[in-house]
Symmetry: C2
DNA sequence: TAGATTGTTAATCGATTAACAATC
DNA sequence: TAGATTGTTAATCGATTAACAATC
């Protein structure tokens, strides 16, 4: 392995920011920008330059003293660090609107996730087409995980079924779970669970809106990147 | 106002946990459980009892010394605190798979979010039905936000369009944004942005899987709530 | 070169946790 | 009552930030 000699574990908050550096670096690459400094990255993403430098020190990108980070190097290092180059096999459990949306989401494939199955306990949904896939019954789930070396399971079922689906995935040997259900999922420590609970996120947003300033005082808003680039 | 005399701002991490207390309390209520202690809640959600008690002190739920918190009181207090009882008007921009899934997601409605419009810049999608709604052109967006007093905008468009859609929503008077696109959204401080970036979440999960134990040593796993209730 | 920017250390800040008096 | 659990203070822990020497 050529990964730099780094210590055991990186905090989740850092990894979350690394995904932001990646997507922003990809935008810059698309614009033909060659170099970006920690202060530029920080300004765009609402972080201090020190945080950016410290985060990027976890990844093996050598910044250069007087210029910053080379955009293509940064992209490649982050893609590699996050495992996009190796790739993952994933399945989706729950062929409702959300499950189908995920299975069909091109960005997932473009970021190294191959959706190799969609499952549903509802017999009426089994056999339906979802893009290039066919919805399969839950009875085939365990064998699929084993045979196709599935790494990641996406839980897109109603709250009442979510924990038992998780249990089934776990005992079938899944290595990680994306939880799109409403409830908290319990899993052993060697099966990481990442929450994508969108209803919960909306609740957080509602709270934030209620505690932020009242509607309307946006008159002095300077537009984001897209708007700004027009007058620059 | 009858909200208890609490200080200015609650950290995002606390609000995020409050949504977990809420959904778990709702599960308990459904099971007919009357009381729950901070240590029970903590155990189920992977938190210490001290964290739970401190979090719930932000909300105006009086726990009772020898019993814990009354489940129905807890539910109601959290629902009220998070603004579910008042409710929000939301629109979705982007009538792709993810946008449609959100617009059709029953749990959102059940948690106080009324989706009152779906918009898309693609003329071929305008006029399509999404549940009880019809996809409308972007030209009608600003007037809708104003006329229907829309609070929240959901950004479900490709990365390249996300910031300009955000800018349009902001200058039209939106009060908060749920960002489902890949990129970081820049907004003024009085328009909170909550990220629901699922691809980024999957990247975080991939990293977590790679740095966790290898596949297979799940033999000693004690099942989550659902499984456990069978042998209890 | 002079100026700018990294990498990293030390200081600060905030969040989590332990502990315990209050109390039902 | 005795035991259990809250609410809260003080201590700990970890993450962010400021600062600066190294350096291209």
């Amino acid at each position: 392995m050529t990964t730099s000699g780094k210590d055991n574990s990186i905090p989740g908050a850092v990894v979350s920011r690394l995904t932001k550096y990646l997507t922003h670096a990809q935008v810059l690459r698309g614009e033909g920008v060659q170099w970006v400094s920690s202060s530029e990255l920080g300004e765009e993403l609402g972080l201090t330059s020190a945080t950016v430098r410290k985060d990027l020190a976890h990844v093996s990108v050598g910044g250069i003293t007087n210029r910053g980070y080379e955009v293509t190097v940064l992209c490649d290092a982050l893609l590699s660090f996050l495992g996009v180059d190796v790739g993952w096999n994933a399945i989706v459990v729950g062929a409702g609107n959300l499950g189908k949306a995920l299975a069909l989401h091109g960005e997932l494939f473009r970021h190294g996730f191959a959706i190799c199955g969609v499952f549903d306990s509802d017999g009426r949904k089994v056999g339906m087409r979802v893009g290039g896939l066919t919805v399969r019954p839950m009875s085939e789930l365990a064998a699929t995980i084993h045979d196709e070396r599935v790494d990641i399971g996406v839980i897109a079922v109603p709250a009442a079924a979510a924990q038992s689906v998780a249990d089934l995935l776990i005992i079938s040997g899944i290595r990680g779970l994306l939880n799109l259900s409403l409830i908290h999922i319990v899993a052993p420590s060697n099966v990481p669970v990442v929450d994508g609970r969108l209803v919960a996120r909306m609740l957080e947003l509602g709270h934030a809106v209620r505690t932020s300033a009242a509607r309307g005082d946006t008159s002095d808003y300077r537009l984001g990147r897209v708007g700004r680039s027009e007058d620059a």
